[in-house]
């Protein structure tokens, strides 16, 4: 691959003497001195146009007395990922924050501080993120010495919100419990009249300790947990987890199973996008479109139930393949249903866009500019609506996407309408993909062959384009098939901070609409 050489060469030219510790197709791994991390990350981000895709820590005890911090950068589609690793040996608890030059690092570094007690020096905002203020000092649950089932005490303290002061400026607190049936989160608005001057998102109410729970599982038992990271993304998360486990276990997934994985993933995308299109219209008070969309969504959920016994396709993924084969008759049933839905939905689309009072609410509302999106490393539907051309299905094909390529829909305006349009286009595209899958699916087994047992300390990264966007998993093995570390990154985690910028200047009553057009997961963010 010439491009791989060129990125590697560029790094070599800028930093002579830095050698890749490890390089496989699609990944360059460097172990570097911790003092060099700011210049390296700045180079990768600014010069090489890399997106900080993931930043996390690993407590290597008991294998080695050290912490590791890993920085993953992703580049344009035909370049490999670059992973940088630094070590904090022994009692060392300090590392240099890269947030001043790579803005997307800000939540990650605060998260590392909360969960590991490592201090990002020079970070502009060291308030707590995951641990709310009432957690006692010194509670760092992902340290290996911290028991997974420890009972946490309570202390008195308050979160310091950012304030804007001045005549006529008011603060509007919303949440954690909201008016609709939605997940808990807190939004603090500073408004002058109706326009929003500032929004501060305070989340992690639903923190359930998922990454620690993964460490109590073995490689083969953890799928059920991955399915429940964010229930609406059951397939996305379980597939990302399974792919990482398969790399560790050296399992080749049979071709038919890869096609079925794509099928399930697209079915999940479809029902969620249909729900979102309806919900966005509903937030402009256009109940008719909502009723039609939720009717179509329900048809798909009932289909899922018939196929797998679960409306959310729970239990469909397995390490090495899928648990359920889908017969030719079922495949024709799926395609027949989708043909109907596509026609049905196309009619609805023309009704929606013929309604000027509706489209008027969508246009120029909640604009996320490409620049702001890039600074936050925004991914998925939200990114593609702001001109960020990124889709794991095309950039790093997994499942059957190398044989059934996807067409990406890209918009530039970054407003609610663009996010709606991306979803609508993807509904048509998913239906097309499923037709392709049916036409090309090979015969063969869907279950895995026998597996190896991995050595402790091996790791794997995996990426899946869920319906919200890029889902990343990093899985490291421990003794006897256990999991030493599992880092989960739902697209919501990177997209939430960006919403704070998309609402500025909009009126407060438009916030629910903007929020719906992002439709991020609280559960997947809070872990």
């Amino acid at each position: 691959m010439t491009n791989q050489l060129s990125l590697q060469q560029r790094i070599q030219m800028a930093f002579p003497g830095l050698a890749a510790a490890y390089s496989v197709d699609g990944l360059l791994h460097y172990r570097v001195e911790k003092s060099r991390i700011p210049e390296l990350t700045q180079f990768l981000h600014e010069k090489a146009r890399g997106r900080l895709a993931l930043l996390f820590a690993v407590d290597c005890r008991p294998l080695a007395e050290k912490y590791e911090i890993q920085y993953l950068f992703a580049f344009a589609s035909d370049h490999p990922w670059v992973l940088l690793t630094i070590e904090l040996a022994g009692q060392d608890r300090l590392f240099t924050s890269i947030t001043p030059s790579v803005h997307a690092a800000q939540w990650y570094e605060r998260e590392i501080r909360d969960l590991y007690g490592l201090i990002p020096q020079g970070h502009p905002d060291l308030r707590r993120l995951v641990r709310h203020e009432h957690w006692p000092k010194g509670t760092h649950p992902l340290q290996k010495a911290f028991p997974w089932n420890k009972t946490i005490g309570r202390q008195q303290a308050d979160y310091r919100f950012r304030h804007i002061e001045g005549e006529g400026v008011f603060e509007v607190p919303v949440g954690p419990i909201h008016a609709g049936i939605i997940e808990p989160g807190h939004f603090r608005f500073s408004v002058a009249g109706e326009p929003i001057m500032q929004l501060e998102v305070r989340h992690f109410w639903k923190h359930r300790g998922i990454e620690k729970l993964f460490e109590q599982q073995t490689l083969s038992t953890a799928i059920a947990l991955a399915e429940r990271v964010s229930g609406d993304t059951t397939i996305g998360h379980s597939l990302a987890y399974c792919q990482a486990a398969e790399t560790l276990l050296h399992i080749d997934v049979p071709r038919r199973a890869r096609y079925l994985r794509s099928l399930f993933l697209e079915l999940e995308r479809l029902h969620n996008h249909l729900g979102d299109v309806g919900a966005i219209c509903n937030d402009t008070a256009y109940a008719l479109a909502h009723a039609h969309c939720s009717r179509m969504k329900e048809l798909l959920l009932q289909l899922n139930d018939r196929l797998t016994g679960s409306r959310f396709l729970r239990g469909a993924m397995a390490i090495g393949g899928v648990t359920k084969d889908v017969s030719a008759i079922e495949l024709s049933e799926i395609v027949a249903l989708l043909d109907g839905i596509e026609k049905d939905f196309a009619e609805l689309e023309s009704i929606i866009f013929a309604n000027a009072s509706l489209t008027d609410r969508l246009e120029t509302t909640g604009v996320l500019t490409e620049r702001t999106g890039w600074d936050h490393g925004v991914v998925g539907v939200v990114g593609r609506a702001s001109g960020i051309d990124q889709d794991v299905r095309r950039d790093r094909p997994f499942a059957a996407y190398d044989e059934v390529p996807v067409n990406i829909s890209l918009y530039r305006y970054g407003d609610v309408r663009a996010r709606l349009r991306v979803r609508m286009d993807e509904i048509h595209e998913s239906i097309r993909l499923i037709r392709e899958i049916r036409a090309n699916i090979p015969q063969g087994p869907v279950a895995p062959a026998a597996a190896h047992r991995p050595q402790p300390g091996q790791w794997a990264l995996s990426a899946v384009e869920g319906w919200r966007g890029e889902i990343l998993y990093f899985v490291m093995t421990g003794e006897q098939g256990s999991i030493h570390r599992c880092k989960v990154r739902d697209p919501s985690f990177v997209n939430w901070p960006a919403i704070q910028w998309a609402v500025v200047g909009n009126i407060l009553p438009d916030f629910p609409l903007i929020n719906k057009s992002f439709n991020l997961s609280y559960a997947g963010n809070d872990l």
Binding site: I181, E183, W205, R208, F312, Y522
Partner: protein
Amino acid sequence: MFRILKKSLKTGIVTGQHPHADQPAESPSQAVCEKAMPFRQSLTIREVDTGSCNACEMEMNALANPIYDIERFGVHIAASPRHADALVVTGPVTVNMERALKDVHKQTPDPKLVIALGDCAINCGVFKGSYAVTGPVDRHIPVDVRIPGCPPRPAEILKALEEIRRPASWK
């Protein structure tokens, strides 16, 4: 306008077009049915998520779609706990949500029902034991009705709500 009418006519009535749920394994106790007496004609629900994976919420939302259309059974969703007759709680209770749950319970006027929806709310499900989870809902507030499932299907939720609101003489 014409397009909308045509669409509505073409679609027809879809309400009730779903597989029906089996009878729940456990029928509600006499005490619960008595407590539910005042809400037989109309029941207003406030949903509280204390740490679910959000699939339980999706099924609660599905109840309002044209296929289940829960409003025709006199069940409404309220925006505030002060307007609610019943709390539907989903998810294990996380350390961070414990206080909010207790507050909501206090804010809900008596008499009230508490419905634990989904395995997590009943016994913490896969999140059991975690440092960040303080226990199932009934550790913090008294629970009247339990609807198991991961997540329970909308038809199962409908059935359970129907069971508790059925007059004793019909049983």
